[in-house]
Each structure stands twice: as C-alpha cells, then as structure tokens.
C-alpha cells in the first residue's frame, strides 16, 4: 500500500506545515481544476513542477517520492490504455503518430499532478488542523469529531489487526494458501474479531465521551483557533492569480503541441 504511505502525516514544523489548511486546500483545488482544464502536454508539464518547491521547503522529499513511486503503476496503466485505445480507434494500421504519444503522456501527467499535489497536502497538513479547519468552516462538530477520531484510531486498529493475525496464525490459520477466492475466505477469521473489537472499542469511547460532558452545550468552544497569516494571504492570492491566468490561457491562447515546438526549434 505504498500509495498511501505518501498520505501519512508526520509532525514537523516548516513554513508549508504552518500554512492554514483552508488556504492550502484551496491551492490544491486550484491545481486540480487547472490540471483538468488542459489536455495539452505543455501546461501539464508546467503544473508538474509547481508543487516541487513546496516539497523542498517542507522537507518531505522522501515520503513524496515514495508516494509517486506507489502511483507509478497506475500511471503506467493510464498511459497504456490511453495509447492503445486511441491508437486502435483512430490510427490503426498506421504507425502511431507523435501527437498520439504526446496526448497519452499528457493524460498520464494529469494523473501524476493530481497525486503529487494531494500527497503534498496530506504530508504537510496535520489531521488535527484539518479537523479544526472543518470545524471553523461550520461543518457540524459531530462530523469533525468522527474525522479526527478515525484518523486517531487508524494506527490502533492496524496494530490490532496484526495481533489478531498473529493469534490466528499461531492457531494454524494459513493466510497465503489456496486460489484467489480461498485466500479472501482465509481473511474471515481475521475480520470478525477485528470488527467485534472495533465495536467494543467504540462503545468504550462513547462511554468516555459521555463522562466528559459530551453535548453539554450547543455552543462548543475550541482550544485552538485558525488565523490567517501573511504567507496564507500570499498563497491565497497566488492561487487566484494562477486560476485567472489559466482561464485566460485556456480561453484565448492556442497551445501548440510539444512536437511542433520541438521541430520549430530544430529549424
């Protein structure tokens, strides 16, 4: 599950980590929208380089590259299908044209841009802050609480799954045996105890919440508050600027394919 490794948050402090999650999310959305707007290689290539300075400033290069590596298989599949189907549909039996290859690469790059921006976002945003951002965006507190609690209990449940797996294996359960269906079936003795214990755990959690005055007032207060700083405003304006430029380019500037530019340069 190396794709998800790129989404794991580690607590460090950097200018990127300290950005307001709302602004950061807006920035990610802008990148997302711009990536979907264009299907030419050139703008997508530009977009590909946009998150890199953030990765360097936040010093999450290793994790970031790992998440990209994890996504490489999917990227390859996307390239393969785009290429094959377009080729069979449009150009068969001629040899594939440069523009077809370029198009397939562009589609793949679009996917990579989405993965890399989301990866930067999750690598540099503490789930706590994310929950807080949700809360301050007037999402009902129950949802925010469910979100942070889910994040909090992921490592706990992973540990528990490991314990149950060890326990069942030590009683002779063989997980890696049989054909595909048999293997899925093998996991039932793992899943049932895991679900039962998760339900028990949730009851205990509910008890603890009740004992700490859950629901005492309509107007809950919060220990932390998010405030926008200078860098947050700077990033927000940059995002808006990027969006406006992208829309203008998309609307008024014809983008030549890369192959045309290359042949022009050769001349």
């Amino acid at each position: 599950m190396s794709v998800f490794d790129g989404l794991k948050f580690r607590k460090v402090s950097s200018p990127v980590h300290n950005l307001d999650p709302r602004v950061k999310f807006f920035f990610v959305c802008v990148l997302f929208v711009v990536a979907v707007m264009f299907f030419q290689l050139l703008p997508l290539l530009v977009l590909f380089f946009v998150p890199i300075p953030f990765v360097l400033v936040a010093r999450v290069k290793r994790e970031w590259i790992r998440s990209l590596k994890g996504a490489s298989m999917l990227a390859f599949i996307i390239f393969f299908f785009n290429f094959i189907f377009n080729y069979i549909y449009n150009e068969y039996p001629n040899i594939p044209s440069a523009s077809l290859i370029e198009y397939s690469v562009a589609m793949t790059l679009r996917f990579v841009v989405l993965v890399e921006t989301f990866s930067v976002f999750f690598l540099t945003t503490s789930p706590d802050l994310l929950g807080l951002a949700l809360e301050q965006s007037h999402v009902p507190y129950e949802f925010c609480f469910a979100f942070t609690t889910a994040v909090r209990f992921v490592p706990v449940l992973a540990d528990e799954a490991q314990t149950i797996m060890d326990a069942q294996k030590s009683r002779g359960l063989e997980l890696e045996r049989g054909n595909f269906l048999k293997r899925i079936k093998n996991y039932i003795p793992i899943l049932i105890p895991l679900i039962v214990s998760a339900i028990r755990r949730s009851l205990e959690l509910a008890e603890a919440m009740e004992s700490r005055a859950w629901g005492a007032t309509e107007k809950r207060t919060n220990l932390y508050v998010l405030r926008l700083g200078k860098t947050d405003y700077a990033l927000a304006f940059t995002s808006i600027f990027m969006l406006v430029v992208a829309i203008l380019v998309w609307r008024f500037v014809p983008i030549p394919p890369l192959s045309v530019i290359l042949s022009f340069l050769q001349l």
């Binding site: 942070t148 959690l205 008890e207 603890a208 005492a216 107007k219």
Partner: protein, 282 residues
C-alpha cells in the same frame, strides 16, 4: 450529608437475568480516599458507572433504590451535568483519549462545556502540571506509553475540576512502577486538592497505604465496608479471594504461630515498625 450516598441500590443490565449490583448501601464522605475491591465480575465497574450516571442513562436497564452524588439525584440528572462533578477514569487508557494531541484531549471536556478559550488554556496548563505531563502536551496520545496515557486520561478528567474522581482499575494495563506513579498522582489529588477519590484496585499492596476507607464487594453485594486495617484483617476478606496486603497477611501468620504484633499493619513500613518494636522488647 455525605458526598455520595446510596440506599438499597440495585441495578440490572437490559440483557441481565439477575442484578449486577444488589442492595448497595454505602456512604462516602467528602475528602475520603476509598479503595473499592473484590474479585473480577463482582460489580465494581457497574457501581462506578452508577456514580457518574452512565447507569442508568447510557446503559438503560433497571435501577432501584436511591443514589445521590454531590447533592444530585443520579437517576434524574443527565450524564453531562454530572460530568462536571464526577470524573471517571477508565481501565484502558487507549480508549478514552480521542484527540490527536494531549493538550487537545485535556481540553475536550472543557470545550464541551463551552468554556472561553483563555480560561480553558489556564485550566489545561494547570491539569497538565498537576499530573506532571507538561512536556507531553504536543505529543499524540497513541505515541505515549501506557503509564503516560493513563496520566493524560487523569489530566483530562481533572481539568473539569470535579469534586469526586472515580478510577476504574487505572493500573491494570501498567507495570508496577507505572502503577506506583499513578497512585502517587491520585494521592496528590486527594491530599492537596481535597478531591474525593474512589479507586477500584486489585493491587492492594500499593494502593491501600493511601486509603482511609475500604469497601469489599462480592457477587454484586457489599461484603465489608470500613477502616482499612479492620477490613484487611477480617477473615472474610481473605476467603473471598481479595489480595489483602502482604503485611497484613504476615501479621495473621505470625499470630497463628503465637506472635502478636501491637497493631494490624497494612503496608511494609507499618509492618517493619511493629516488628522492630516487638524484637527490641524481647
């Protein structure tokens, strides 16, 4: 009037055939340090849940008799109202911490009560300081050791400044040293802040030195209730299978063999003091 009073209290869980606790009549004074003990499954946890209203409000079931805590009738008072007066610390520290930082977890109850931010900040700092975990404030609860987690759980409850704190086997997931530290924290809360403590515990050797009131339960009923020396020395406590302090057991064995110490000891210091007295006399 005592801080906690129950009168013929019985409770049956919705799925239960017979009462989990039956005919409980106890009274606990303000400032008491109560140790509640008894074999597993004897109804200690059920009684704890009665103290803060989880029973009957969260569990349903049938509650009979009277129970008043800090002047509130538990049967008629909502859990979140009682939560400001009675804090409950559970057995498994992992399942009572939900936030992603210690600080935020300690603030959880106060946030629920709608306390203004500045006051909350002060309270959180105070609770962290009282439990000696100031340096952990930024850490994530699931990264901490069991002992640290349990201290965080205590801080969470303490931040609400309750009059009564109930600890349901807080040390059963901890090693002896961790347990010792937890007991010391609890003792400080009792002696320095005057918080009434009810501690459910099996490790009586460690816990009993702080108590001034011991209650022993068996099969849902109160068996013994009173001053620690008297309770631990009674034959019944031993026969039920309560792990009475080794010092008290030593006293009993010595007496069977014809050596009578001046008083009943309940911890090693007392035992060595009384023994020394007898040895120097001879």
């Amino acid at each position: 009037m005592a801080l906690i009073e129950t009168e013929n209290l019985s409770f049956t869980y919705p799925s239960g055939m017979k009462p989990a606790v039956e005919d409980i009549s106890i009274s606990i004074e303000k400032g008491d340090f109560v140790v509640l003990t008894g074999p597993s499954g004897c109804g200690k946890t059920t009684l704890c849940r009665c103290f803060n209203g989880l029973i009957p409000h969260f569990y349903g079931g049938k509650l009979e008799g009277n129970i008043t805590v800090a002047g509130y009738n538990v049967a008629k008072c909502l859990v979140y109202e009682l939560a400001r007066h009675v804090g409950l610390v559970f057995q498994n520290p992992e399942n009572q911490l939900f936030a992603l930082s210690v600080e935020k977890d300690v603030a959880f109850g106060l946030e629920n009560c709608g306390m203004p931010r500045d006051d909350m900040r002060k309270r959180v700092d105070w609770a962290l300081q009282m439990t000696g975990i100031e340096e952990l404030r930024e850490r994530a609860p699931h990264e901490l050791s069991g002992g640290q987690q349990q201290r965080v759980a205590i801080a969470c409850v303490l931040a609400m400044q309750p009059e009564v704190m109930v600890f349901d086997e807080p040390t059963s997931f901890l090693d002896p040293l961790g347990a010792q530290k937890i007991f010391e924290v609890i003792n400080d809360l009792n002696k320095e802040l005057g918080i009434t403590v009810i501690l459910v515990e099996h490790r009586l050797d460690l816990a009993s030195r702080y108590a001034n009131h011991v209650i022993v339960m068996n099969e849902g009923k109160i068996v013994l209730d009173g001053e620690p020396h008297k309770v631990f020395n009674s034959e019944r406590a031993r026969l039920i299978g309560v792990g009475i302090p080794k010092a008290t057991r030593l006293y009993q064995i010595l007496r069977e063999n014809g050596l009578k110490l001046s008083k009943v000891p309940i911890n090693s210091e007392e035992a060595s003091q009384f023994l020394r007295k007898i040895l120097t006399h001879d």
